[in-house]
């Protein structure tokens, strides 16, 4: 008789979650990945480091973020919806949790510089912010298309003292920004940490990022208990690489809660992808029959990624979490509905999770179902783009 499986524990020694994960990197980066694993293990077992991480998130990052009952949306959909308000964290999204952790780790490893990739710009802004706080030099790689879609975030990063490098290769979006950051890391790995923004890439990144983000789920679990809600029936979060989803799932992976990740239909690695190796990991990828990676397409730059973190690929395969896809056409109405009913303008990424609730309410979600929604980011960065879309539609 086997003991019940414990989900979202440490990956195995090769960095695998089931069949997924691993460390598929050039030899030039292998040593840095091995050293990072040792450094993180050491730091995460050091009470002083963990305490500093929590202290910085409290005094600088705005944690704990509240859980808000979304009463009007709940009535509208016939559900009981609670939102974990990562939009209220410093820099406007959950991304701050990971970058505070990784920049503290960078300092601990004695490296004076970080590089990062960014899609929507949220991770880039967060990295620039955390780097500024610690006096680390910071360079952010961003697809040229995204620098146009998110021009204000480029300026924000520059205000924070970071250098933003537009990436002109490939699809000029997040996937190419990751390629370019990896290439750059090869040249500077000795004194530079690659502050990867999601639960993806080579081991130990998927594990490190999930651990730093798991504060979301642990806080929410405690808060729902205090509110008398207990374990929710459903926990839902949007998924690009999957860091906010991993963070909130981590608090509920070993409960009865149904875990739902919502991908953009144009980048739905679980629904439409197949197993493969990209960016240092074996995971589910959108690719053709020859193993060439296809370009993702989403209204949301943060979900414009043809892969997904390896632990999500595993949770899907193990049937512990389900992954659904939402098309661009469902996203804008969801953003509008949450804004009008609750006074919260969500990020386009987050609006995918809201759209899934709207679609499933009354069908797969029975009336009265309790839902924890990870409100992963605020929509200020997307307001200009949404205005353009709505103008075009009218």
């Amino acid at each position: 008789m086997n003991a019940p499986e414990v989900f979202m524990d440490k990956p195995d020694a090769s960095g695998r979650f089931g069949d997924f994960g691993g460390r598929f990197v050039p030899e030039a980066l292998m040593t840095a990945c091995l050293e990072l694993e040792v450094a993180f293990n050491d730091a995460w077992n050091d009470d002083a480091f963990v305490q500093e991480f929590y202290d910085v998130l409290h005094t600088f990052g705005g944690r704990p973020t509240p859980v808000t009952e979304l009463s009007r949306l709940s009535r509208h959909l016939g559900l009981r919806i609670y939102a974990k308000r990562e939009d209220l964290a410093h820099t406007g999204s959950h991304k701050i949790n990971n970058v505070v952790g990784q920049t503290l780790l960078t300092k601990r490893m004695g490296k004076p510089r970080v590089i990062a990739e960014t899609g929507a710009g949220q991770h880039g802004v967060a990295t620039a912010t955390a780097a500024a706080r610690l006096g680390l030099s910071c360079t952010v790689y961003m697809g040229e298309l995204d620098t146009q879609r998110q021009a204000l975030n480029v300026f924000r990063m520059e205000l924070l003292g970071a250098t933003v490098v537009p990436v002109t290769s490939g699809s000029k979006t997040l996937k190419d920004a990751v390629n370019e950051a990896m290439r750059e890391w090869v040249t500077c790995v000795k004194d530079t940490h690659y502050c990867l923004g999601s639960v993806m890439g080579p081991h130990p990144f998927p594990w490190i990022v999930r651990e730093f983000q798991s504060i979301i789920g642990r806080e929410a679990s405690r808060q729902l208990t205090e509110m008398g809600v207990g374990t929710p029936d459903v926990v839902v979060a949007c998924v690009g690489g999957g860091s906010n989803a991993a963070g909130i799932f981590a608090g509920f992976a070993n409960t009865d809660a149904r875990l739902v990740g919502v991908e953009a239909a144009g980048g739905a690695a679980i629904a439409t992808g197949s197993p493969g190796v990209l960016h240092g990991m074996r995971s589910m990828l959108i690719q053709d029959e020859f193993g060439q990676i296809e370009e993702a397409h989403s209204v949301s730059a943060g979900l414009d990624y043809p892969g997904i973190g390896p632990e999500h690929a595993y949770l899907a395969k193990a049937h512990r979490a389900q992954y659904e896809a939402i098309g661009d056409d469902e996203v804008i109405p969801a953003l509008q509905l949450l804004s009008e009913l609750e006074g919260i303008v969500p990020a386009l990424e987050t609006a995918h999770a809201v759209a899934w609730l709207i679609r499933e309410a009354g069908t797969t979600l029975a009336p009265g179902t309790s839902v924890l929604l990870n409100l992963s980011g605020r929509g200020d960065k997307d307001v200009a783009q949404v205005r353009e879309i709505l103008r075009g539609a009218s």
């Binding site: 691993g22 598929f24 050039p26 030899e27 030039a28 980066l29 190796v277 193993g291």
Partner: protein, 259 residues
């Protein structure tokens, strides 16, 4: 010992420094003529790039070549089909990314490549720790797996990599992706670290773009690999004759270095 290593050790035994040019397969209708020209002009082995959409270890030149090749519809099977029509007389070694082999099916990919006289594979995103499945697929076909040692590789790891590599050991001359043009690199110390623990042939690549650099690299290694400098010329319209001249210039420099 793999057939590739037997051949390359024999090159060294003859007192010759190896020259290994790199070509991206499928960049034009003429690409096989380029490969033949290089063999005629004195290449000792030839690297054939199989294009991948996301070449993490490659700079802008190889990226451009990969894109051009993919846009022309190049696949593992199409390259194998074309290679079946030629016999250039020197070993071929493919360089590609793991996902391309994975999607061909590891066993099937290895078998197909071996059938057209490919003797080895360099897969830069497949470190020894992840390569057991690929190595098992290669073994029945005498297909060598060639590993890189980087300037960042610590000595104890150099020993492991040098022990695992087959055919030759790829000494990465610089901490950079392919196509770097900067002058002095780390090739000498990387090659020395490999030689301290192994007598496998050591070839220096990444950061070798001129005959002069090749000559210097040959003073501390068994050969050199030149990719982007050649591919750049091909993307700009070099003919097979131009390729022959290019290879001869390196051949002369390497032969002179040894006299």
């Amino acid at each position: 010992m793999t057939g590739l290593e037997v051949t390359l050790r024999a090159v060294r035994h003859r007192g010759r420094r190896a020259f290994v040019p790199y070509f991206m397969a499928g960049t034009s209708n003429e690409w096989l003529r380029h490969v033949e020209a290089a063999a005629n002009a004195g290449a000792d082995a030839i690297e054939i790039g199989l294009p991948f959409s996301d070449p993490m270890m490659d700079g802008v030149v190889i990226q451009e070549a990969a894109k051009r090749s993919l846009d022309r519809g190049t696949t593992l099977a199409s390259v194998v089909g074309e290679l079946a029509s030629v016999d250039v007389g020197v070993p071929l070694v493919v360089m590609t990314y793991y996902n391309v082999l994975l999607h061909g099916g590891l066993e099937r990919s290895a078998a197909m490549l071996a059938q057209v006289n490919v003797r080895g594979a360099i897969v830069p995103d497949l470190p020894p720790e992840e390569s057991s499945e690929w190595s098992s697929a290669c073994a029945p076909h005498d297909l060598a797996t060639i590993y890189l040692v980087a300037p960042s590789t610590p000595n104890e790891r150099v020993a492991m990599v040098a022990q695992r590599t087959q055919g030759f050991c790829y000494a990465q001359g610089r901490m950079a992706v392919t196509g770097t043009t900067s002058e002095e690199g780390d090739g000498a110390s990387v090659a020395a670290a490999i030689r301290a623990v192994s007598d496998v042939p050591v070839y220096v690549g990444i950061g070798v773009s001129t005959p002069e650099q090749a000559q210097r690299a040959a003073s501390y290694s068994d050969g050199v690999i030149v990719g982007s400098a050649l591919v750049r010329r091909i993307l700009d319209g070099a003919t097979p004759n131009d390729v022959e001249d290019f290879v001869r210039s390196f051949r002369r420099a390497l032969d002179a270095s040894h006299e």
